[in-house]
Symmetry: D2
Subunit: 400 residues, 4 copies
């Protein structure tokens, strides 16, 4: 049995720390998902999701992990043999490629070094080259949870437009919606893929597809077998405040409360808070003399900071020391960063002192694990947090 003498610090880049209000909302008796009380709640949640995803179109909610929402995006719009263009920006873009291939979708990958976001120029070049319009969709990850690198979605949109290419734009926002500025409609995204357990401050178990008219049109003619993930039935049922099968009622209670909390704070404030915490975290990393995985200031993630370990030091051993000594969970390096990087999640229900507890734990852990570093990262972070000025560098990334 694990003895927790205080609150565990859950600083993986998701699931994030769930607010008490959301947990308590979930802790209410399950009600009839076919009754009027439920329908009223459901319709309210659907409207709320539109406000959070910044869209006037439907946002579909699945009882599933975020991975399910990726599968839903693909099986509703593509057909076996279709070709898609993906930018490899980290572990999750790799996972989506594997997923696509399982459904006989041909994936053209733009290789990447896992330290940059998707490059709009390269996407543009590929699309321009695709005279036959074989590419049906461009798939990118807004915030690469595995690397702490954000892709500037708006730039990718412009690239597709410049190429005058009809491909759909799919964006993974699993760790961005609800914490990093995101505009489904304004940025011309066709399918937004999201999960509940990051910026939306909920436990895992719900996933989302925000969809454009163009995506809906594609779903009417594609030839991929599907049932659980089918949009058409969901859209029809949603109009009446229900779903085609039993929804995860108690997670919907949580979603209702999470939306309320995000709106009480105000989305602009939510974004600014994450941006500020990202900056403070990187200030600490710089002060320690360590290097973030992300190299371009325009692509710094406001929600996750992945840090490279100095040669000869194992990130997982370091993480274990921190877990055992300070009851804090940090994210592991994934895929090609396994053992070579660790990740600090600073998203969701999170404030300055939770961040300082987090960074203190990292700094003490560096010492206990005998990782070469300079002391004082926490002081550098405090310098950022104390300053009232709006941060500039990251804000620019997020809104650009």
């Amino acid at each position: 049995m694990v003895v927790h003498t205080g609150r565990h610090f859950l600083q993986i880049p998701g699931p994030s720390n769930v607010p008490d209000r959301v947990l308590r909302a979930m802790d209410m008796p399950t009600i009839d998902h076919r009754g009027p009380e439920f329908a009223e709640m459901a319709l309210g949640i659907m409207e709320g999701c539109k406000r959070i995803f910044r869209t006037r179109n439907p946002v579909l909610i699945f009882p599933s992990s975020g991975t399910g929402a990726w599968e839903a995006a693909m099986v509703n719009t593509l057909s076996p043999g279709d070709k898609v263009l993906m930018a490899e920006t980290g572990q999750f873009s790799v996972l989506w490629r594997t997923l696509a291939e399982r459904f006989q979708i041909e994936v053209e990958t733009i290789a990447g070094d896992w330290r940059h976001g998707a490059r709009a120029s390269e996407i543009e070049a590929r699309l321009v080259a695709d005279k036959a319009h074989a590419i049906k969709a461009v798939m990118i990850v807004h915030n690469e949870t595995s690397t702490g690198v954000t892709t500037r979605v708006e730039e990718v949109r412009k690239a597709i437009d410049r190429a005058k290419h009809p491909a759909l734009l799919f964006v993974d926002t699993i760790s961005s919606v609800g914490s990093i500025r995101y505009e489904h409609d304004a940025w011309g995204v066709d399918v937004t893929v999201c999960g509940s357990q990051k910026g939306l401050m909920m436990p895992p178990g719900l996933s989302f597809n925000a969809i454009s008219d163009k995506a809906i049109a594609a779903s009417k003619t594609n030839r991929m077998p599907r049932s659980y993930w089918d949009w058409a039935e969901a859209i029809k049922a949603n109009k009446l405040g229900s779903w085609p099968y039993t929804p995860a009622t108690n997670l919907l209670y949580a979603l209702r409360e999470a939306i309320a909390m995000l709106e009480e704070e105000g989305l602009e404030n939510v974004y600014a808070r994450h941006t500020r915490h990202g900056e403070a975290t990187r200030a600490a990393v710089r002060a320690w003399g360590l290097e973030t995985v992300c190299v371009d200031p325009l692509e710094y993630s406001p929600v996750t900071t992945a840090v490279l370990m100095p040669e000869g030091h194992d990130a997982n051993q370091f993480r274990q020391i921190i877990l055992e000594n300070f009851d804090m969970s940090l994210g592991a390096g994934l895929g090609r960063l396994k053992g070579r990087a660790f990740r600090i999640g600073h998203l969701g229900h999170f404030n300055d002192l939770m961040l300082m507890g987090t960074l203190s734990g990292v700094e003490m852990g560096l010492d206990l694990a005998r990782v070469p570093h300079k002391s004082g990262g926490v002081l550098a972070a405090m310098d950022v947090l104390k300053s009232k000025e709006e941060t500039v560098e990251v804000a620019r990334v997020a809104v650009a």
Copy 2:
């Protein structure tokens, strides 16, 4: 806004009333699904599921509705063009047929009147006739939630054996496991499909596949594209106490507590309790002079009683009167029983006085809705509950 002046009676045949202990368990902070504390919990839950499903093989747990578990069962074992044999016993067997057809599975249906369970003899006849062994699976519903009719799974197993047919046996236990006796291994079931929100006393959001070696073997050669539902990756990850994607952590907390509660009571006692409540409910129905949908005493459901409305009376209007006057949700008639029947759920976390509140609400509702009936159903139900003797009729059904 709905004002509840007391506890809502959730007497649909699922989701069932969730115990406070389970709700509270779910209301704990989400933890790292890749850490040691989680792994220890996960391994314990997996073992617990084996005990509840009565199997020594893996029980796969999906973050999804029960419908997802049905999709998982099919896409892991069948290939497009495969043929399966289904017994139409009610709305849910119809839904599974539709689902199968979406995946290009050819469905041979044994028609039914929605008032009986699947007939083993007829299944046997079809299998004997299938000399070429074109039928890859026999699909039945253990407890037809839409009709309150149970199918005697063991008899179906024997029929398949007598026919010496290699078809897999799929059983929908969404509303039976955890409330009606069920034996995955002893009854030779190949894929058991289940959901969290009925006998398992949880909110909706988790689903299950208990699988046999034969089903696993089939999953290694079938040709249905899949990713989210894939067994192979889950089995591999499960061995380490994890899942291939972020699990629904807080629902797993709930599952752990629900398993603990079922085992504190003892599965035999759980089954007997439901059997007794089914008998009391039917005693009330008989006393009212109404008719249950189920006609064969060997097939009475211990968890759901569907009641036919007298000609000229609308079941949904009746249900609405009860909801408005007594804050109780009853199940609607589904499919061909729409408006013609209502359903009383008496499963999950449920006791004698909750049942009496339920039946009192039904009896008062019959009066308020001016449905012709005899008074005193509640007295008949009390007669059953007062008697100490083990009930005989239904117990026989459940264990046969």
Copy 3:
């Protein structure tokens, strides 16, 4: 360990069943009781209490049981050697006498048969006889929880006025406020004594004194030593939204939610609901051929029904049978009714079907305990509940 297979029926006359919303409200992190967030909540609660107690004067809230509020009432207004007039209406009036005597207060008691409320005429006679105005206070119990008899407070007020006697009027409303019509100001009560765990639908742990200007004046000159219960310091601190010592923060969260729920339903509706449930319960008792302790229809309690056991039958054995067989707690006979009566609580967060579960349990228990009775009490209760008409008899009692 006790295994609860469903929801326990807590049908003692308090603590009553606490609504989930109230329990969940209590389950939020404790905050600084000297900070602004707390003060804002506290001031809101104090205003809410005034609306519930129907007063424009302060309502003092103590972290204590209801018994503490009785002690507070006495030590703030009386001096050792003072004389008070009490009407013995049941166990609680006896307890208050003992309490008073411990503080050297001389108690003149109007004897009673425990089957009637306090008689205004007799109180008037005693006061008229007290030419010297030795009697400093008249103490009555609004709803005698031990007998299910209500005293018509307004009549007592009129009697005091007719006698032109300066005595203070103390009323125990521990089981009435929040469920039976009560008017602190309009009825000219000087000290109202209340607890949290009955009509206020909370767990036990808070108690209340609503006080008049006359009571406050008395508290400035009386000579009883006190500290914890002292009104003066509380009144002063309350103005700033605080208390003289650490308040029971989480119970205050519960109180805030309970007030909100009472007001969402509307106090008039709350009173009518209890009145109706009282009538239904008595209809059942009559149908069983049993006798309520209360004999005067003008004094029937809307929240508690005490029932006399037939000679030769032990009420506690009966209660135990019901607890063991049906997981329902009924109230014991207290004091001179010990073993001779049992009490059914029907107050707080309670609705028709909870009442029917309750009465069904009593009827089955009568049978299992072989208590002579007629069957069909539940049918008689349903007849009352089904009828739409406002009940007359009890309503008259409550408002008279």
Copy 4:
């Protein structure tokens, strides 16, 4: 409305941060306080309290604030006109004096500078001088919550013994039991006064009296009127697992869980954890160049650190800046320290990273409030936390 974007830091010296397990325990339905399930729980809690207070005698539990337990201690053992000896060590010792005087107890006070604990030698001198044994009790505060100074109780015990004086020894442990080593029996304490909301990790609302045989003997002959606080009735009722009046059931659930948590961690570990956090906090204070109120290393409190503000700086303005900027509540300076000191609570459910978040907030607050200080307190604290060695200075105080 206050928007909390993350978890509030409740760093007053009580109420302390309540663990989720304790909050959730409290959030279960209230049960019958006269039934067998309750009695079993109550008896278990009473035994648990004995283990926590380190006594074989009864521990009485009151539904009240800690102040109530002080009143209980006095009214059960003393008589009007009795004389007691108190050491003025801070605000709470002053409060107890006021309280005693309200009950006509004559208080002889040993003046203090609020920066030291009670001096055993001075107590000894007073007792030796009291040839007539007029002093009935010696009253000290184990951990002065207002100053962060602990009194070495064992030394006071020895002083009384050396003086061969029969006075009872009363100890206020409101902020010590459950966090600082305390031995009711071994240290020969007669009445231990405690509250729930500090080391016991609960919300406020319960208070405690651990009592010696000598105290019980005194309670049989003293002449102070009492009812709510009366020990005799409580001791009698407690033997059957009940209380003389309705107990605060849900707070008892919380207490049961809190005892379980303290014992899972192990009391020795609990004490060591607090000692270590006290040392780390003082290291930060020293590094800032600030001064703790406590001046004697043998008397440093492991649970509260009171810090003097430099001349010309207002502690409350500083606290407000921290509350507004960092959502952290610090303790105010009380009484003669009002505005001149602030207090950091580091007790209860608390761990290293919560402490670091706390100290970071203080350091940033010093800067924002332009309080002259040196940067780097957090680094000094981390140096303490990183070191594995048992701390020496404070440990000695605690166990001496």
